[in-house]
């Protein structure tokens, strides 16, 4: 816990660099491309359309039991936060390796490279969110006070994301196998998280997997609050919060232990 506070303080001290690194991340990505930042919106939109066709039209997966939510919206509400999570972790895993010349030469808190990657993805997420808001208006989804739950859920998701990102970034520096392993984990993880199907069709004997998987809890909570206008399942969310903090502690500890040797092995 103390380590988390200390790291947080040193990142605050270097916030100018954090800001510059984040804007480098964003500016450099779509240089020399015509559509530029529009790709951030286009990408999940195309994903959503194809998945809706496959899972709703062909496989006819139901949305939520008693509601009339269109499948596209049902899917998109879960897909966006999932994309935020998966792109953050996979890009973070590469963040240290890609900045090898910097790490070898100049001192600064290395976690800045990971945090700036996540912030850049968060900005992408915000852009992609505009489409979701247009959907909301179009489908006349009622807006309730329960929408405010999104903020603590997203924060918990970010704690979990940061923990995993720090771990994989440091591990990938030692063994490049990690990035391939991670791609595999993420693609399987997608299917054990209720993104293309609703959580309540999961058989009871498998429910525990979904209780322990924080991403499943987050995705479900977004749907309950945003689409259902209800408050989320607080017990599950509490477990997810604890799991997230444990993940962050372990990730940061692993990262800090190896930080001194990054320049030697990168």
């Amino acid at each position: 816990m103390l380590a988390i506070v200390q790291e947080f303080q040193s990142v605050i001290k270097w916030r100018e660099l954090l800001w510059q690194m984040t804007s480098r991340e964003i500016k450099a990505r779509y240089k020399q491309s015509i559509l530029g930042y529009f790709w951030v919106i286009l990408n999940p939109l195309a994903q959503m359309l194809v998945m809706s066709f496959a899972f709703s039209v062909i496989l006819r997966i139901p949305t939520n039991s008693a509601s009339h939510i269109p499948y596209t919206l049902f899917l998109y509400t879960a897909l966006l936060p999932w994309n935020l999570f998966s792109t953050s972790v996979t890009s973070s895993a590469m963040s240290l390796v890609n900045s090898a010349p910097l790490i070898r030469k100049i001192y600064f808190p290395r976690s800045i490279l990971v945090i700036s990657t996540i912030i850049a993805k968060l900005i992408d997420f915000a852009f992609a969110l505009t489409v979701l808001i247009i959907f909301f208006i179009f489908f006349k989804i009622p807006i309730t006070l329960n929408l405010l739950w999104v903020i603590p859920i997203l924060l918990t998701q970010l704690i979990f994301t940061l923990g995993l990102s720090l771990f994989f970034a440091a591990a990938n520096l030692i063994y490049r196998d990690i990035q391939y392993l991670l791609a595999l984990i993420i693609s399987l993880w997608f299917y054990i998280t209720p993104i293309v199907y609703p959580a309540d069709i999961v058989p009871n004997r498998f429910k525990f997997i979904f209780q322990l998987n924080p991403m499943s809890v987050f995705v479900n909570a977004y749907r309950q609050t945003v689409l259902g206008g209800k408050s989320p399942d607080l017990f599950s969310l509490f477990i997810a919060l604890i799991v997230s903090f444990i993940t962050l502690s372990v990730g940061l500890l692993y990262f800090k232990q190896r930080e001194n040797t990054f320049a030697d092995i990168v």
Binding site: L17, Q20, A28, K105, D264
Partner: protein, 257 residues
């Protein structure tokens, strides 16, 4: 720019101190799981130890200009990395006091897709400058680099000389207490080199401590006030540049050196 008075006052302060410092690198023999797992089961050695610096001690006083010479792979750059705080010693201690500006492998902090203007801000932040400090120095940085016409071009179109000019210009505007220069003045045209040395003379006058790593012995003799000779991870000699350079030239012909 710093006023010379307080630095003169601190003239006898030690700003860098290495105490019995040893640096080992453990090189992983097997880089992938495929190679690593069988080695682990068969009980083969998985790590190779390499001693980069062997029991080195020296002090640098404020305002000194220290040249570091020696053959390739002798450990010169490792010394600079330890001073920059990028890597930690295996044994012994390193003490550094002051703001460091490393001029090692210029452009390490540059992003090729970004323009020179954007890169000045990025690189400045990496060297620990605030946005405001960079804004205040921006015109001076651009002027020194002589890249006014290319300032809004992505730097992937730059030549290595232009890279170097931009990197050097940003680094000298950080108002460092300790300036680390590693072999960088080799690129760049003679005019600009001249300008860099003028700037470094100015730094010397203002009491900035300079560490200069080079294979160009003439400049070491001309520019430095003291010199270290490193060979095979050991500190061989420490003294006046002329003496040390002569010793280096003599020993270079010795095959076991």
């Amino acid at each position: 720019m710093k006023t010379p008075l307080p630095t003169l006052f601190n003239m006898n302060n030690t700003v860098i101190k290495f105490t019995n410092l040893t640096k080992k690198f453990s090189l992983q023999k097997q880089k992938t799981f495929k190679e690593f797992l069988p080695a682990l089961f068969l009980g083969e050695q998985t790590k190779n130890n390499f001693i980069a610096l062997d029991n080195i001690s020296f002090k640098v006083k404020s305002g000194e200009t220290l040249g570091i010479i020696g053959p390739n792979g002798s450990g010169k750059s490792t010394i600079l990395k330890l001073i920059a705080g990028v890597t930690a010693p295996t044994k012994g201690k390193v003490y550094v006091n002051g703001r460091i500006s490393p001029l090692i492998e210029l452009g390490a902090g540059f992003h090729p897709e970004l323009t020179a203007r954007e890169n000045i801000f990025l690189n400045g932040a990496i060297l620990g400058l605030s946005q405001k400090e960079i804004e205040n120095n921006f015109n001076s940085i651009v002027k020194f680099s002589e890249l006014e016409e290319f300032i809004d071009q992505p730097i992937k179109f730059f030549s290595s000389g232009m890279y170097m000019r931009l990197g050097f210009s940003v680094a000298i505007h950080t108002h460092p207490d300790i300036l680390i220069i590693d072999e960088i003045l080799a690129v760049g045209d003679p005019n600009f080199q001249q300008k860099c040395f003028q700037k470094m003379e100015e730094f010397k006058k203002n009491g900035v401590t300079i560490l200069y790593v080079s294979h160009d012995l003439d400049t070491v003799i001309k520019f430095c006030s003291r010199c270290l000779l490193i060979s095979h991870s050991k500190l061989i000699a420490d003294g006046s540049p002329i003496q040390i350079c002569q010793q280096y030239l003599k020993e270079k012909t010795n095959p076991s050196f």
